[in-house]
């Protein structure tokens, strides 16, 4: 990096044209040779076997718009439009299994194709070529960066979305005995998940004709006032369906929250751990569990 800087300072002394002027010249060149360069780029893409998930026509169509936004970003040095386009493109191609290396690969290919054409154009004027490249390279690198970051961000968004979907699936309502359900809650409860839990539980009570429900919150480290209130409402709503709720595994922090918000403990049936909760539920339902083997 330091080495390069010293050469550019040398060149700067001899610089006669403004960088913006060079950039304009560069952009004019790229516009003029648009068809040819674009085609060359597409050929290079298929040669290197990138974007195999897409058809030739699709690649060509995307290449055209990428080329145009690329040249535009070079010209205006405004990267917002390109960023938006990159995000939009990623949104379309990620579901088709396009990988990060492919996207970065095609942008770098375009950068190389354009650089080659600049070499060809200015091969007789080495100093000018150097100055043109000085103007071109930083902008081109920034574009490559922008597109890659846009793609990765989009991927991360998809991952976040999937995490949400997993979270939705991770609240099972399980029947352990006739008329006895358990609802083990693990992880962080936000208001949205709390609402979902309630819906699933109430529906579960109806479909399983449950009389007793054990909600185990051992795996929940803390809950805020809203969620705690929601839990109390769930207990009351379950009672309206004729089911008794036993809450087990309250952590000290949650106990503190419940006391702070002044929960009426008469309505809440709480037992220390899941085993105790199930035992109490069995008593309520009239089950008696006995060992069939004589204890030694």
């Amino acid at each position: 990096m330091a080495k390069r800087d010293s050469t550019t300072t040398d060149l700067e002394l001899k610089r006669t044209e403004e960088p913006s002027e060079l950039l304009r010249e560069l952009v004019a060149h790229l516009r003029q040779n648009r068809t040819q360069l674009r085609e060359e780029w597409v050929v290079r893409i298929s040669e290197t076997r990138l974007l195999t998930a897409m058809t030739k026509e699709e690649i060509f169509a995307e290449a055209t718009s990428v080329y145009d936004s690329y040249v535009e970003a070079l010209e205006t040095e405004a990267f917002e439009a390109l960023q938006a386009y990159a995000r939009n493109l990623s949104e379309r191609i990620i579901p088709r299994g396009v990988e990060t290396h492919e996207v970065v690969g095609i942008v770098l290919l375009l950068r190389d194709v354009l650089a080659r054409s600049l070499f060809a154009k200015y091969q007789n004027d080495f100093k000018k070529l150097n100055r043109i490249l000085d103007a071109y390279e930083p902008a081109a690198n920034r574009i490559a960066n922008t597109v890659a970051v846009g793609f990765v961000q989009e991927r991360e968004r998809v991952i976040r979305q999937q995490q949400e979907a997993i979270r939705e699936l991770s609240t099972p309502v399980l029947q352990v005995r006739e008329r006895l359900l358990i609802l083990p809650i693990i992880g962080v409860i936000d208001p949205q998940r709390a609402r979902q839990l309630t819906e699933q539980l109430l529906r579960g009570i109806r479909t399983n004709r449950a009389k007793v429900v054990v909600i185990d919150i051992t795996g929940v480290a803390a809950m805020d006032v809203t969620v705690a209130n929601h839990l109390v409402q769930t207990v009351e709503a379950s009672r309206l369906l004729g089911a008794t709720v036993i809450v087990t595994g309250l952590s000290p922090e949650i106990a503190q929250t419940l006391v702070t918000i002044g929960v009426d403990l008469g309505k809440m049936n709480t037992v220390g751990d899941l085993q105790g909760g199930i035992e109490q539920a069995e008593r309520l339902l009239g089950y008696k569990v006995a060992s069939i083997v004589e204890p030694n």
Partner: protein, 120 residues
């Protein structure tokens, strides 16, 4: 639309229909409170399965029915509250404290049979 009140052994059963006006509810309340003594019933089951929306007036009437029936010497069980309705009621603060609830008519009858078998 008037709500029919059925006599089933020692119990009275009233089934709510989907759309009941406030006047219908008042009528039902008076009917139940009168008949519970007339038939010497031990309990009243109010079935609200058909109600997919429960407004505050209907909830309040249910609670009033339960309390009035108790004063008349019998018990009330509300059965068939829909899950969505249950949660909406709780959010409105209508929790029907002190009123027995059951999943459906069958459960309500089972609950009452169990209860009165013991006291008999």
């Amino acid at each position: 639309m008037e709500v029919p009140i059925l006599k089933q052994g020692a119990f009275l059963i009233a089934t709510f229909q989907a759309a009941l006006s406030d006047a219908d509810l008042n009528h039902l309340r008076m009917g139940l409170v009168q008949q519970v003594v007339k038939f010497r019933s031990r309990a009243v089951i109010v079935d609200v399965t058909a109600m997919d929306v429960m407004d505050s007036f209907a909830s309040r009437t249910l609670r009033e029915i339960a309390h009035m029936i108790r004063l008349r010497g019998a018990e009330t069980v509300i059965v068939g509250i829909q899950p969505e309705v249950a949660f909406a009621m709780v959010q409105l603060g209508l929790t029907l404290e002190g009123v027995a609830t059951a999943l459906d008519l069958e459960e309500g009858l089972a609950y009452l049979n169990e209860k009165f078998k013991v006291t008999n």
